[in-house]
Symmetry: C2
Subunit: 428 residues, 2 copies
């Protein structure tokens, strides 16, 4: 089929009539589908059920350092959990702290502490007139929600195929000392599935920020979440690059097992330099007696080591891959050549990012909802929920069954077509 | 034996020689004992081992609202965990939020949020010149550590046999709007084991603080932690009293299962008014996708309901009671009538509070250490670690075996005697 923009008004109207009829048919089915949430499916969750009774006798509960994990003690994580997550995060074991069930909470706490206590002796941000963060867009809404909550001004930085536009990042952080951080999902990024190039990571490590308390908030949420055996992105390790560049304290790296074991019942971690971690431990000591060591041990025993975890991720991939492929196949088949949208086929992560014609995203999401398909709200991938072009839509293929997903994808492309025709006809 | 203060110098010197000899004998045994930490013993932890495999099939993991607890969702706690902890905390189910593994963390977060966002619209505390907290003393060192961490000035308020001195509390909060809170452990208090009287609780509920954002931080850590079947303290419910007094938002109530199931691997909760909880939920939504629901469900299924939990606490009491009795018996037998110290026999909780003669606590703790017995650091029960009278020592009988504990108690009383004689002889 020809690109929509090359169709005459007459042709567009004819097309509209046909698409509307198709849509009415779908709507009449009274469907209830959801492609909005980056949640693993029940089938994926079942992969980790062996974890539920891996610790059953009191002797099972003693960890490597001889501590009874059922009792108080061990502030920053038991040895075996540190080893497992250090290997997963590609950092030395001594440069990691294990937290509770949520890396988002760890990131929140990092910002909260900077607000009240500053960063390695800097002025607490709450005492400054203005604090700003750089936000590569499209990005993760929950990152933006944290900075918004603390009244931090967010500045959009466009993503490119190799990561955030580093010319802009370098320039902004060098000239404005109110800029205290940047949110990054460096591998299989949310929502685009882009992995930062080696050059991008090295430029990050060599940043010369005006603010001494500037940090890179490196949320490596999808570090081992590949979809394919034969096509895997590689990300070079940021902390080592920072160290080499003479900026050892420049980055905080976050991760968790949320999409490896159980979302909300996994374990999270931060990795950083000795100096950064010492500051975090000092505050942690006031905040808690310790995180859930039984759950740490449960994870360590279940996975055994990083090899066990990588093997486990292959099983996740086997479940996820057909779902991603189904959506991508539908997009290719139905929208290929129409020039009414573009998307990236990711090699990992949880999302497919779709860019419609400008000014169409909200209308597409609304249209899909009419037919019983819930999508992530348009705009969610931008700070303040405001997509300046109203074009980005995040597609989350993981949760529905493959059967439902195929129907959902059809509804989505149909919605895209209808709204695009409306747009071209000047009806929007 | 006569009170030490009535002994002549000659008699004291003679006594000293005898006690020193006894001490040398004990020291020669090279013991390694610990009465410093309010930790359950392994025997107590074994009581909850049934929890470790109570959830093993995927259908087990669905909670009352039909949600798969292994996945994201349910911000403020699953229904069955809310019901269980609401019953434990004697509040309606809708007035509770379930958190992660640590009530200390919940308290920390309350203060942290007040620092950056204020309380129900008040000025963020970080923007104020001075913020103060009232601290009933002796009290819990970790409470004091939180307020100290945030630069909040702490004001000592003496404890009485019925709770904090309410004349002082009422006066201070009414006249100083920089006073934003008070730390309370209202039942079987840490370290004295005192339970606030009905009158004290009612006076708390009727406080007229100058600061609109003043809150009572009511850490009911030992609400169901009785030692005896026939002697149990009763505490009236603070939130209901606040409501009755027309101050519905005045108190935050905290609790956890740390000393019911597993310390560090239990579940914590906050209870408060609708308005206070709405504010907390709003912030929680930014901080986390949700706490560990699998662990919530594990607790709910293991205990069944509040009756199961109360029954479970009887088993804890059966283990703890002989330990408390052993320490109290030693104190009575060895120090009774000597007038060199006083203590309270608690009916619950985790501690026995001992008050030496003024200026002796540090020396007693040091003396005990010489003989291989670790006690909680003298001063720890006061803000900034400063006990103005240097007399309070917290005794934690729960963790050692009964056998070790008996030896530890003997070393303790011997240390008290020696230091007291030194004090009376002017040797300190």
């Amino acid at each position: 089929m020809a690109a929509y923009k090359n169709l005459s008004v007459e042709e567009l109207k004819e097309l509209k009539t046909k698409l509307d009829a198709e849509f009415e048919e779908v709507k009449a089915r009274g469907l209830n589908l959801d492609m909005s949430r980056g949640k693993p499916s029940a089938e994926q969750l079942n992969l980790s059920m062996g974890m539920m009774d891996v610790l059953t006798s009191d002797t099972d509960l003693i960890c490597q350092e001889g501590v009874d994990c059922r009792n108080y003690g061990v502030l920053d994580g038991i040895t075996e959990a540190k080893q497992l997550l250090a290997d997963m995060m590609e950092v030395p074991k001594q440069n990691i702290i294990i937290f509770g069930n949520s890396s988002l909470n760890v990131m929140y706490d990092q910002i909260a502490r900077a607000m009240t206590h500053g960063v390695l002796g800097s002025t607490p941000w709450a005492k400054l007139d203005k604090v700003k963060f750089l936000c590569p867009v499209p990005g993760y809404d929950r990152h933006f929600a944290i900075t918004e909550h603390f009244g931090i001004e967010m500045i959009n930085v466009p993503m490119t195929a190799t990561g955030p536009d580093m010319d802009i990042v370098e320039k902004l952080v060098a000239e404005d000392d109110a800029i205290k951080g940047i949110w990054c999902v460096p591998k299989y990024s949310n929502p685009q599935g882009i992995t930062y190039s080696d050059e991008t990571v090295r430029r990050f490590a060599r940043l010369k920020p005006a603010a001494k308390d500037f940090r890179i908030y490196w949320d490596n949420a999808y570090g081992i979440h590949h979809l394919y055996e034969d096509k895997q992105d590689q990300l070079i390790e940021i902390l080592e690059e920072c160290e080499k560049a003479g900026n050892p304290n420049l980055a905080y790296k976050f991760s968790s097992t949320s999409k490896i074991s159980f979302p909300g019942s996994g374990i999270a971690a931060i990795a950083s330099s000795d100096e950064n971690l010492a500051e975090i431990r000092k505050q942690m000591q006031v905040q808690t007696i310790g995180h859930d060591k039984v759950n740490q041990l449960r994870h360590a025993r279940f996975f055994g080591d990083i090899n066990g975890m990588v093997e486990h991720m292959r099983k996740h991939a086997d479940i996820l891959r057909p779902k991603f492929d189904a959506v991508l196949e539908t997009l290719d088949r139905e929208l290929g050549g129409l020039e009414i949208g573009s998307w990236i086929a990711p090699r990992g992560g949880y999302f497919i990012s779709f860019d419609s014609m400008e000014g169409c995203a909200k209308a597409i999401v609304a249209k899909a909802k009419e037919a019983g398909l819930v999508m992530t709200g348009a705009g969610a991938t931008f700070p303040y929920g405001k997509d300046p072009k109203d074009s980005n839509i995040r597609i989350a293929p993981s949760y529905p069954t493959l059967e439902d997903l195929k129907v959902a994808a059809e509804i989505f492309v149909l919605s895209v077509k209808i709204v695009s025709v409306d747009k071209l006809l000047g009806n929007l």
